[in-house]
């Protein structure tokens, strides 16, 4: 999503996911819309997962970022259309990989990887494809746990959600 006003876009870009600090909320694709009512900016965000505990923090962080810039924001949570990993930008995917989280594959490949088919996900540490799934449920709802068979590093994989 693009925000018409570059100053507002910069403010939103400065806010990141508290669990993935390198990833701006603009690059996760959870900011859906910014409206203005009088002096107040209404920022519409959509949760990645229903139970994502980061959403409340993200809402507070957005309000704080606007306040720091001398403006006021309110948060509106919208559920529909539901968030999809397709909304992660290419900049976001690069940031994830650099941080050590493999970016989501396309739906079919994702399903194969998550039923345990080996060599599907590239190791974020050494780049090897010789990897296997350790657990399809990882440290947070959006991730699964993988391990590299070459460098032996465990790493997270961001699950495809459509």
């Amino acid at each position: 999503m693009r925000v018409a006003d570059p100053e507002i876009e910069d403010i939103l870009r400065s806010v990141s996911d508290p669990e993935i600090p390198v990833l701006s909320i603009m690059d996760i694709g959870i900011v859906r819309k910014v409206d203005k009512q009088g002096d107040i900016f209404i920022v519409s965000i959509t949760p990645t997962y229903s139970g994502c505990p980061a959403m409340d923090t993200i809402g507070d962080d957005i309000k704080a970022a606007f306040k720091a810039a001398g403006m006021t924001a309110e948060i509106k949570l919208i559920l529909s259309p539901a968030w999809s990993t397709d909304w992660i930008t290419s900049r976001g995917r690069t940031a994830l990989e650099k941080y050590g989280i493999a970016a989501p594959l396309e739906a079919t490949a994702d399903k194969d990887a998550l039923i345990g088919k080996p060599n599907m996900i590239k190791c974020t540490n050494c780049g090897s494809m010789n990897t296997k799934m350790v657990s399809r449920f990882g440290s947070t709802a959006c991730k699964a746990l993988f391990q590299c068979e070459d460098c032996h590093e465990p790493f997270d994989y961001f699950k495809c959600l459509k």
């Binding site: 919208i78 559920l79 539901a82 039923i115 657990s135």
Partner: protein, 251 residues
């Protein structure tokens, strides 16, 4: 009157994931292995996330200063409308998986129907939730097959769990007055229509799991109309403790 019916319907939708989520939460740190421990608590988190959406809406509908927390945690036992299935205890891992499986298959069918609800907000919640529940179905079905088609002991334990839990399955499909009304209004599905698909899906997985459908079951009903098993009071005592001890507390 219509607001009251809508409120009741939101409780019917939200109380199953609430109580099941609480049961799964009890397993935090007690799963049989790390992966399943994380999986079960992640499923619990998904369910509570969905519940928040229903109960935030329910609080708006009923008004009078209600909040998602008061709706979730300050009702009396007979005011909870969850089915008896989800309050059954975590006897062993086979019971946990079997209970999950029997609920997940129903939950997925229900949400698929609710996506086309005439109530836009319920439809939006269903669109969001169904993506998560697809994962739950995968998880519990895979474990049904792994245990059923595993060792003699895992098969025997799962057979026992199925023999016990199956009696609670049909309550999910027996509509209350509220559910019948909501079906007429196009807000919710006709539950009886979902039953044949449910039976087919459960049977398919049972066959793949080398299990057989229990014979001669006396089905049990009551939870959806507020008549619960003896386990419910204990669940609520723990679930409600903080809100009762420290009214209006927030994390």
């Amino acid at each position: 009157m219509e607001q009251k019916a809508l409120y009741d319907y939101l409780l019917l939708l939200g109380d199953n994931p609430t109580i099941l989520g609480q049961r799964l939460g009890e397993l935090c740190g007690h799963g049989p292995e790390l992966e399943t421990d994380i999986a079960l608590t992640n499923i619990s988190l998904d369910l509570f996330g969905q519940v928040r959406n229903y109960f935030q809406y329910a609080a708006e509908v009923i008004g009078n200063g209600a909040t998602e927390d008061s709706v979730a945690m300050l009702r009396h036992e007979h005011e909870y409308k969850n089915a008896l299935l989800v309050e059954q205890p975590n006897r062993d891992f086979a019971y946990v998986i079997c209970r999950q499986f029997l609920f997940d298959i129903f939950h997925q069918l229900l949400l698929n129907e609710l996506m086309s609800s005439k109530n836009e907000r319920i439809s939006a919640i269903a669109h969001k939730s169904v993506k998560e529940v697809d994962y739950h179905v995968d998880f519990s079905s895979t474990w049904m097959k792994r245990l059923g088609d595993g060792t003699e002991e895992s098969n025997q334990r799962l057979t026992e769990a199925m023999g016990f839990l199956w009696r609670y399955s049909m309550e999910l499909f027996k509509p209350t007055e509220t559910e019948t009304l909501m079906a007429e209004m196009g807000v919710g599905p006709d539950l009886s229509e979902l039953k044949p698909i449910y039976m087919e899906r459960v049977n398919t997985t049972l066959q793949a799991s080398k299990l057989v459908m229990p014979e001669k079951t006396t089905y049990q009903y009551g939870g959806k109309t507020g008549r619960h098993t003896e386990y419910m009071g204990y669940i609520l005592a723990e679930f409600q403790y903080m809100q009762r001890a420290y009214p209006n507390m927030k994390w």
